[in-house]
């Protein structure tokens, strides 16, 4: 499916983004074992220390090591992001593929609903949902699933009906291929490229949304080392501890931009409809 993937990156920016993206994923996986300090241990004698050889990124207002929290937070932030994406892709694609197979009025109604739903400001929708559930990181994750599913429903419905209208499906029909085999052997392999592009581009959007919700206070709650919550926590010290806010913000920024660049590259390489030059 992804043939010659090694020839995808065309510029140094793209190569850098891939290296950074892999590095961040790796840190999210093993970072928790590398942390030099306990990310939750409060030590008021060590509070608000500027970056030094001991505390590479300094300490926060309660004397916790910022680098340790950042590494722990990588896991928390990225795991929540991927949780949202995995559930959204599953639910969205199920609805989208089913809708395309059923067709007719049901299909029409579902897609209209998805269209309208998709338009509403996703952040405020998620905010409403998360606060209705009671503020927590799980609430924020469910809230984003609640406002994000139409993206994938629409995309998968589009891809599926494209495939269903092609000739090889007609011959599969003539052979009596059952629906579940059609989905497994025709729809999913063909939809993979499009999904992959969308997922890569959505990683940064979902991550920004999660950290935004945590920042407002409906996501991860403050002592938790989630990056958005860390920024909210650091706000009160920003004038005498700029590093507490700067570090998690840069972490979000670098991760988001890396995945944006990767998504853009995938779109150029995999999507035949968006060749630019």
């Amino acid at each position: 499916m992804i043939k010659r993937w090694w020839s995808f990156p065309k510029t140094n920016v793209e190569r850098t983004a891939i290296v950074l993206g892999c590095l961040i994923l790796l840190l999210a996986l093993v970072g928790a074992f590398l942390v030099p300090f306990d990310p939750m241990k409060i030590d008021f004698r060590a509070k608000l220390q500027a970056p030094s050889l001991v505390h590479w990124l300094g300490t926060d207002g309660s004397g916790r090591d910022v680098l340790s929290r950042l590494l722990y937070g990588a896991q928390l932030t990225l795991a929540s992001t991927f949780a949202v994406i995995i559930v959204v892709v599953t639910i969205g694609c199920t609805i989208g593929i089913a809708s395309a197979f059923i067709g007719g009025a049901v299909d029409n109604m579902l897609m209209r609903l998805a269209d309208i739903w998709l338009g509403f400001p996703p952040l405020i929708l998620a905010l409403g949902f998360a606060s209705a559930l009671g503020a927590s990181l799980e609430a924020a994750i469910w809230a984003l699933i609640f406002s994000w599913w139409p993206n994938y429903a629409r995309l998968s419905r589009m891809v599926t009906s494209d495939i269903l209208s092609q000739k090889f499906i007609a011959s599969a029909d003539a052979l009596g291929v059952p629906t579940h085999r059609k989905v497994l052997h025709y729809v999913i392999p063909n939809a993979m490229d499009v999904m992959l592009i969308q997922i890569a581009l959505d990683i940064s959007a979902v991550m920004l949304a999660i950290s935004g919700l945590s920042f407002i206070g409906v996501g991860a709650q403050i002592p938790a080392p989630e990056w958005g919550a860390m920024i909210a926590d650091g706000r009160s010290y920003v004038s005498n501890g700029w590093w507490i806010v700067l570090a998690p913000g840069l972490a979000i920024f670098i991760t988001a931009v890396s995945f944006n660049v990767i998504g853009d590259m995938l779109r150029r390489e995999l999507d035949p409809t968006s060749r630019r030059r």
Partner: protein
């Protein structure tokens, strides 16, 4: 006019979906709305009374009907933390937010349209590559973090702009008829207040818009790039038209519709994103109101903000679409 009728019908349909979503949030997702409405300190008998009063012992469909008719009558419930009807809270908080979004949108258009046109014209050039990189960087900036950083550096370190608030201390007593300070100060001829209000708007508006601008540049480029390849551009060049004239008079008119539709949607999205900015800059507005309501667990106030933002979103889309339709001269000719 058929188009306008269809478009209005679609908006009504969308409104129904919006009502359904907010009903879902306030009556189903939040658990027992009676507990919510009675407040966190209410006893069991109070909750039972509220339940009866709100009709929560009746079937969901009936409840949905009651919910809708309340909203149609302008009743969004009562906020128990401000102890005011939520509707009047929101009427008070909406103007400053709309003002912020309006200025942010102006900044957005002023950057997106020229950059989008230029990158479409010079697609594949070094300039295009650099702008694409900037766009991807902009799309990865957390709004709230940018707001804090801008506030610290531009207002705090350089003291170029005020740090927080809506007006300076000397203008704290200024009031106007509409609640839109920029508009009111102009109407009263108070140019000092106007300048003061504008200075307070620049940083939050810029922080709010940057993410949307990144998308805006991209969308504008995509909708214009195909136009530059068309033969009417060649003919315009053959007439001796300058590149600027070709971009503004010929290409823009033909490629603007999809881009402007997206900007119409961004207006509503930006209003939603004020929750990330207003609190940081200490500005009144529905964004800050929503954040406060969240920290006080006032679900009804939060859901009311969701509803109002959705409503503004539907309206701004409707207005943009109909305006584009009416301004497009070809439709009048009756083709």
């Amino acid at each position: 006019m058929r188009y306008v009728a269809q478009r209005i019908l679609f908006s009504i349909l969308s409104l129904c979906v919006l009502l359904f979503i907010t009903f879902l949030l306030s009556h189903v997702v939040s658990g027992d709305p009676a507990i919510v409405a009675a407040g966190p300190n209410a006893g069991a008998d109070k909750i039972a009374a509220v339940r009866q009063e709100m009709g929560l012992d009746r079937p969901l469909l009936v409840q949905f009907w009651i919910y809708c008719s309340n909203i149609m009558h302008g009743d969004l419930g009562t906020s128990w933390f401000t102890r005011q009807p939520i509707a009047s809270d929101i009427i008070r908080e909406l103007p400053p937010s709309l003002e912020l979004v309006f200025v942010a949108m102006l900044i957005n258009l002023a950057i997106s349209l020229p950059l989008g046109l230029l990158t479409a014209r010079y697609a594949g050039s070094r300039f295009d590559d650099i702008v694409r990189l900037l766009v991807m960087a902009g799309a990865g900036l957390p709004i709230f973090w940018l707001a804090i950083i801008l506030q610290q550096i531009v207002a705090g370190q350089w003291r170029l702009l005020p740090t927080a608030g809506r007006l300076g201390f000397q203008n704290r007593d200024f009031t106007g008829a509409t609640g839109f300070t920029l508009f009111d100060s102009l109407m009263q001829g108070r140019f000092d207040v106007f300048a003061d209000a504008l200075a307070h708007l620049v940083l939050p508006a810029f922080a709010l818009t940057l993410l949307f601008t990144a998308v805006g540049v991209r969308i504008t480029r995509t909708s214009m790039i195909g136009e530059f390849r068309k033969d009417y551009v060649v003919l315009a060049r053959a007439k001796g038209a300058s590149e600027g004239r070709i971009m503004v008079r010929h290409v823009f008119a033909n490629g603007a519709t999809p881009a402007l539709t997206v900007f119409g949607m961004q207006f509503g999205w930006m209003l939603g994103a004020t929750v990330l900015v207003e609190e940081i800059f200490g500005r009144p507005g529905i964004g800050r109101y929503a954040v406060k309501a969240v920290t006080q667990s006032d679900i009804h106030a939060v859901v009311a903000v969701v509803f109002v933002v959705g409503l503004v979103f539907l309206f701004s889309n409707l207005i943009v679409d109909i305006a584009l339709y009416l301004l497009s001269p070809r439709k009048h000719a009756g083709a």
